[in-house]
Amino acid sequence: MSFEGLTLTRLATNRTVRVSGGIIAAIAVVAIVAPLLSPNHYMAVNFEAVLQPPGLAGLHLFGTDDLGRDQFVRTMMGVRVTLVVAIVASIVSLVIGVIYGAVAGYVGGRVDAVMMRFVDTLYAMPFIFFVILLTVIFERNFVLIFVAIGAINWLDMARIVRGQTLSLKERPFLEAARLTGVPTMAIIRRHIAPNLIGIVIVYVTLTIPQAILVESFLSFLGLGIQEPETSLGSLVDLGVDHMESSPWMLIIPGGLLAVILLCFNFLGDGLRDVFDARQSR
């Protein structure tokens, strides 16, 4: 069986990957579809139905918030925002990290030493505080949040890609390719890139929960997504204010956030088992 075929088979038979991937997909589908079907709009305020507990009355499945807005639809909108921010931020960190790491690894020598020294220096920084500072200085803005989160998370990716490239460079099949006169670009495209894909997929999956954490952390502090838009972090923040009288406002979005993060972490672990089978212990 081909390498790709083998990987796909292993993907399909890995229970961790199947279950956690399935749960994430299900949550994503519900978050996309449910707000369209619900009679309630996520911005619709209703002062006659404030802080209602979850129930079928008015189809407020998760109850209502302090302005009488439907918590179910708002939570689903929050899931959407959270997932979009995380995925875009991960793509930002993917692009920066892969290019940076691959260049450092492939060029090697002094360039590599200087580039990785820079990464080490950035590692020691209390980044989240810079992000807080940035969001305060430049007013809150959606794009900035993506960029800030991506800018934090590319370091791991750069290190891993660089290490992988470095070890690939010395492999006999690459030496053979060089000796038989395959041009550099073709080597990178045909021999290096396919060998990086596995590990990159694994680390993107592990970057997504980190990005979700940063976004919801900022939203929790009131520095992220702005009302009336919402994210799971801002819903938790609101839930904390009302947790004594209406605990579901904290428990439901907080629990959902935890489940999403848990699934992404398990998915990343499972994918690592699949792609890293050769190096697995």
């Binding site: 920084m125 209390p126 505080f129 929960p209 947790m243």
Partner: protein
């Protein structure tokens, strides 16, 4: 020794960020008479060109002076002195708890590798890593303070040591989870090594093997994690201090950032960076002490 350049980079970066703000820190208020504005600018050295300001700031930092606050009559040194003790107590206790609990749980799971207990501990650790601190902290308050009424939820309302329990546990939980995973993985590795097999063949009991042979090498990954752990605790303290209403540095940072009190923000960032750098340095030294293969010239 990357400590000094890292610290310098943090300071310079923070300084330029703060000074890239359009207008000065007094812009947002009503228009001041020019004479008063001039006095203010001079008092805070804002009338100099930015590189001169940076040089002055760095010079003052070397003397241990973080400068005045834009918003408070106290200077930044006094604000930090006021807020640091609470943060230090909670952070220090959380770090101690995380190390103690993480090392024990990790070793325990590794000794029973692939048993049901191992799977439970690994699953719990994964959950601990996944649940964000700002969900854990309010959930703990809801359970132990609101419903069970065992522990106080606020900081200021109770004088006794009971007020430390919930913030410290909430702050330590994610770090316990990380350290458990690290310890378990490295302990499993070490327990499979040749010299542990030799020790076992010589008839040593499990406790003696762990204590005399396995613990030291298994600690290495945990030691390397000290730097990131302190960074995590500092980040978490922002949430913990706002949830429990603790007047510490994390809460001070957010308040200062909202009030645009940039010198206070910078002071706290510099202090945090110094702490992280210091712990990384400490980790390097510890690593050398624990691992005979590492020698410093």
């Amino acid at each position: 020794m990357g400590a000094v350049p890292t610290l310098l980079l943090v300071i310079v970066l923070a300084f330029f960020l703060v000074h890239s703000v359009p207008g000065g820190p007094f812009d947002s208020e009503r228009v001041l008479p020019p004479e008063i504005e001039q006095v203010l600018l001079e008092r805070y050295d804002l009338d100099d060109p930015v590189p001169v300001q940076l040089a002055k700031y760095l010079g003052n930092l070397l003397k241990g002076d973080f400068g005045p606050s834009y918003r408070s009559t106290l200077n930044v040194n006094q604000i930090i002195a006021q807020r640091f003790p609470a943060s230090l107590a909670i952070g220090g206790l959380a770090m101690t708890l995380a190390l103690a609990a993480g090392l024990m749980l990790g070793t325990w799971a590794a000794l029973r590798h692939n048993s049901r207990l191992d799977r439970v501990v690994t699953g719990l650790a994964m959950t601990g890593i996944s649940i964000p601190i700002f969900v854990v902290a309010p959930a703990l308050v809801l359970i132990f303070a609101v419903y069970l009424n065992w522990l106080p939820a606020g900081w200021t309302v109770s004088p006794g040591p009971a007020k430390y329990v919930l913030p410290v546990v909430a702050l330590a939980l994610p770090q316990i989870a990380y350290i458990t995973r690290l310890t378990r993985a490295s302990m499993i590795d070490v327990l499979q090594s040749g010299y542990v097999r030799t020790a076992r063949a010589q008839g040593l009991g499990t406790a003696a093997i762990v204590r005399h042979h396995a613990l030291k090498p298994a600690l290495l990954p945990v030691v390397s994690y000290l730097g990131p752990a302190i960074a995590g605790i500092l980040t978490g303290s922002v949430v913990i201090e706002s949830v429990f209403g603790i007047p510490g540095l994390g809460e001070g940072f957010v308040t200062a950032a909202f009030n645009r009190d940039y010198l206070q923000v910078m002071g706290i960032v510099v202090l945090y960076a110094a702490l992280v750098v210091l712990l990384n340095l400490l980790a390097d030294v510890l690593y050398g002490l624990l691992d005979p293969r590492v020698r410093y010239e």
